[in-house]
């Protein structure tokens, strides 16, 4: 092993062995949390990955906390336990930080993506965000973007655009294709527009962080 950081990919561990990339999505019933995990798995599938998306299996009610999971790997995924140590957290509703332990199990070098128009300090999660490597914690106003493009408060597609920019685990093109497959026609186009703007917002944040 060269020990070079640049040789590490999302699907290779520090010892060179293949590993899974695990995403946990927190939101509330009605925000398309399960659909987000499913679209993400389709994006992974389109790139030839093995991907597994599944909900947290509660009685689904509008407004109730909902969790969905997505695993990606370069080989068959056999594991059926819930994601206990996510590589990435996607938080669709920032009020959840007060209700549940969203950060439970998040890996030290993991990613955090929060849908909000506030700052980490406003949400009182600045410390948790700062513990992650530089550029691994970002915010994106996904609900605002959804209202602007889709005219409904469904932040899921926008967040997937942001996810592609943040982690580079999947290409943004695959995310767009996955959104298209899930929402054909006009609704799909509107969701893709929201995802594109979210993608650009995160890319700009990433550039600013790396320039600093």
């Amino acid at each position: 092993m060269s020990g070079h950081d640049s040789t590490a990919t999302p699907f290779t561990g520090s010892d060179g062995k293949p590993v899974m990339f695990q995403i946990r999505i927190h939101g509330r019933g009605g925000q398309g949390v399960v659909t987000a995990a499913e679209m993400l798995s389709v994006a992974g599938f389109l790139e030839g990955r093995h991907a597994q998306a599944f909900p947290s299996f509660g009685s689904e009610r509008t407004g109730a906390p909902v969790v969905a999971f997505c695993r990606m790997a370069t080989r068959e995924i056999r594991l059926r336990e819930p994601i206990l140590e996510p590589d990435c957290l996607i938080v669709q509703d920032a009020t959840l930080f007060k209700a549940i332990d969203v950060f439970a199990g998040l890996r030290p070098n993991g990613y955090l993506l929060v849908n909000t128009n506030k700052t980490f300090a406003d949400l009182h999660i600045e410390q948790a965000a700062q513990r992650l490597p530089a550029g691994h914690a970002v915010i994106v106003p996904a609900t605002e973007l959804a209202l602007k493009h889709v005219r409904r408060p469904v932040p899921n597609a926008a967040l997937l655009g942001a996810f592609a920019a943040l982690t580079e685990v999947v290409h943004f093109d695959s995310v767009k294709r996955a959104i298209e497959e899930t929402f054909p026609g006009k609704i799909g186009a509107a969701n893709i527009a929201a995802a594109e703007e979210a993608f650009d917002i995160v890319m700009a944040q990433e550039r600013a962080i790396h320039a600093a």
Partner: protein, 420 residues
């Protein structure tokens, strides 16, 4: 064709490829997506020559399937949990009459207390009903088992239940190879009934049988299941030859050849167990797994061969027979009976009512079995604290209240002690 698809949807597509002629269904979580998917396929014309009948209950669903099957149609239905209990009388009738119905069971706990999540209680409640019961480990196997199930059911004229873990498999979206029509047609011949209600040649099915022949009817039902032991293996081999992958069969060993410890389990938890075994193997522990695919008929001889060299056998199952322990462990015990130098049997009950079975818990369980073996049945991740307090209260106080509500209150107090 490889698809990124929900397990339920993939099963619906595979069942449609089997060309069922009558589907009758009543929705119940977590089976609903399967029969909804089939309804869509019939409505949009993808599945033709099929009567899709909405019925008013599970009892009616299976009763319609019985009528359709007796009239010579390939009949399919699906259910879960309380739905299976509600059709219980018809479950026994379908097998007693020797009708080759295929039914999917989206495995789910049985109430009370009401619980919509996964375990194997529903399948276990009907394990003696005379149906063959096949358990899928993955969604790919769930797809493939349905295709094999129709052939098996119709060859023997006996019904088959395909058991699929509710939510864990039915609601998971993953990469699944859904075969094409030509492949399935080549594997599954058209239904050729051994008995049929036909006005042109009148006959009756369902005679009253007294003590003079009832034992013989049951003997033949048992005999058919022993015949199935051979056929299940034959069809799994045929399936591998035609489709190029391993699915079905009686059981499937994993790293069990040189194993000192062999885990025995059924269904989707076997995936998590395999990952755990790989981790323990990295630590030098000689451990393996035997996945039971065919629970009825139970592959006693094959299991005996698979675990013969082990020192310890750990059965992990998602079911409990109160007053006995684990029913699967009891069946495994039969395979050990009269075996010279039989391995020690350890029984663990896990994942009841949807409790997640995690690698850390399995690591602890597998290590404990050899280091500090337990007596009787071990309940994985049991919250001993709240159980102990509840037992204490019921001893002290006659009118101690409903158990379920008491336990929920204790869990809430543990989670938020300030609220006490």
């Amino acid at each position: 064709m490889l698809k990124q698809i929900e397990g339920s949807r993939a099963m619906a597509e595979a069942i449609a490829l089997c060309r069922p002629e009558v589907i009758c269904a009543y929705p119940i979580t977590p089976q609903t997506h399967i029969v909804e998917g089939l309804g869509e396929l019939v409505k949009e014309g993808a599945l033709t020559d099929c009567e899709y009948i909405n019925v008013e209950s599970e009892f009616a669903a299976l009763s319609v399937a019985i009528g359709a099957s007796a009239a010579g149609a390939r009949a399919y239905t699906a259910t879960a949990s309380q739905g299976l209990l509600f059709m219980a009388e018809a479950v026994y009738n379908a097998s007693g009459l020797g009708l080759p119905i295929v039914m999917t069971l989206g495995n789910r706990a049985i109430g009370a207390p009401i619980n919509i999540w996964n375990d194997h209680s529903d399948a276990m409640s009907m394990r003696d009903a005379g149906w063959m019961q096949l358990f899928a480990e993955t969604n790919q196997e769930a797809v493939d088992l349905h295709i094999q199930a129709f052939r098996l059911a119709e060859e023997l004229s006996m019904p088959v239940m395909v058991c699929v873990d509710g939510f864990i498999l039915t609601h998971a979206m993953e990469r699944i190879d859904v075969p094409d029509q030509a492949q399935v047609d080549a594997f599954l011949p058209p239904y050729d009934p051994v008995q049929v209600l036909d006005p042109a040649e009148p006959a009756s099915i369902g005679a009253m049988v007294g003590p003079e022949a009832f034992t013989e009817v049951r003997f033949l039902a048992h005999y058919k299941q022993t015949q199935a032991l051979r056929l299940i293996q034959t069809y799994a081999r045929d399936f591998r030859a035609a489709f190029g992958r391993e699915s079905g069969g009686l059981l499937r060993p994993y790293r069990a050849d040189d194993a000192e410890i062999v885990v025995v389990a059924m269904g989707s938890v076997c995936g998590t167990i395999k990952d755990t075994i790989d981790e323990m193997r990295d630590d030098g522990i000689r451990i393996g797994l035997v996945t039971i695919v065919s629970y009825r008929p139970f592959p006693t001889d094959e299991l005996r061969r698979a675990i013969a060299g082990a020192q310890d056998v750990i059965v992990v199952e998602k079911s409990i027979s109160p007053g006995l322990g684990g029913p699967l462990a009891n069946d495994v015990d039969m395979a050990l009976r009269n075996m010279p130098r039989a391995p020690h049997l350890h029984s663990a009950v896990a994942g009841l009512g949807g409790r997640a079975i995690t690698r850390p818990s399995l690591h602890r369980l597998f290590r404990q079995a050899t280091v500090q073996p337990w007596e009787g049945t071990h309940f994985l991740d049991l919250n001993e604290h709240i159980v102990g307090r509840e037992i204490h209260t019921t001893r002290k106080k006659r009118r101690s209240g409903p158990t379920a509500e008491n336990l929920l209150r204790r869990v809430a107090q543990e989670t938020h002690p300030a609220a006490e």
